[in-house]
């Protein structure tokens, strides 16, 4: 069964450093998403991406964040200068169309120290 894959599974970084979280969405999906889940809390929408551009973003997704689809398969989330409060599980998801089932990856646990 096709799945969304994320790497790395765990990333530890120093405050102020840049991190890139990587995702390979399901191949025939057209919509890509990043979500964040702080430990024990709800899943929060960060950004959606379609047709090589951001289609929607939340208040959390400020200038420190950027997304990119550098080739036909990868979808990345970059945090330019990490803060302690960026520590969370980051989930990538993809879907075939709008308002359809989203498939989530296993997540990347980001720890900022």
């Amino acid at each position: 069964e096709p799945e969304v894959t994320q790497t790395p599974s765990h990333q530890v970084t120093q405050m102020g450093q840049e991190v890139i979280l990587r995702c390979v969405p399901i191949s025939n999906h057209l919509y890509f998403y990043w979500y964040r889940q702080i430990l024990g809390q709800k899943v929060e929408f960060l950004v959606s991406f379609y047709n090589n551009e951001i289609s929607e973003k939340s208040e959390i997704f400020d200038d420190q964040f950027s997304v990119e689809r550098p080739d036909g398969s990868n979808f990345t989330l970059k945090i330019r200068s990490t803060k302690l409060e960026d520590s969370a599980m980051y989930f990538c998801a993809s879907s075939r169309g709008t308002a359809t089932e989203a498939f989530f990856g296993q997540g990347t646990r980001l720890t900022v120290v």
């Binding site: 919509y31 998403y33 979500y35 809390q41 709800k42 899943v43 929060e44 929408f45 959606s48 379609y50 289609s55 929607e56 939340s58 989930f91 709008t98 308002a99 359809t100 089932e101 989203a102 498939f103 989530f104 990856g105 296993q106 997540g107």
Partner: protein, 113 residues
């Protein structure tokens, strides 16, 4: 802003008892999705409801979408230990971008064998 709330936050049940979680939106929804997240896992899509008053069943799980399309419920009959996890509803508000699904805070279910 638009909010999706869920109650209860936590529920502990004896195996075999029933369980219900309720989801309420501050605005009318185009559709609502339900996801299950096992401890340490990622959200997994369960179902999507679109029509006002819609009821769908998956084995022991029954999902309802309210007539006003502002609330939803998930009912599990005769819980089993495999039902343990956090159940999230995720609503797509009407008159917004199709990409910005709002997750509720989740109901964490524990099942005592």
């Amino acid at each position: 802003g638009q909010q999706v709330m869920q109650i209860p936050q936590y529920q502990h049940v004896q195996e075999g008892e029933d369980f219900t979680t309720y989801c309420n939106s501050s605005t009318t929804l185009s559709n609502i999705q339900w996801y299950k997240q096992r401890p340490g896992g990622h959200p997994v899509f369960l179902i999507q409801l679109v029509k006002s008053g819609e009821v769908k069943k998956q084995k022991r799980l029954t999902f309802q979408f309210g007539e006003a399309k502002k609330n939803s419920s998930l009912h599990i009959t005769a819980t089993q230990t495999t039902d343990v996890g956090t159940y999230f509803c995720a609503g797509l508000p009407m008159k917004t971008s199709y990409d910005k699904v709002i997750f509720g805070p989740g109901t964490s279910l524990s099942v005592i064998p």
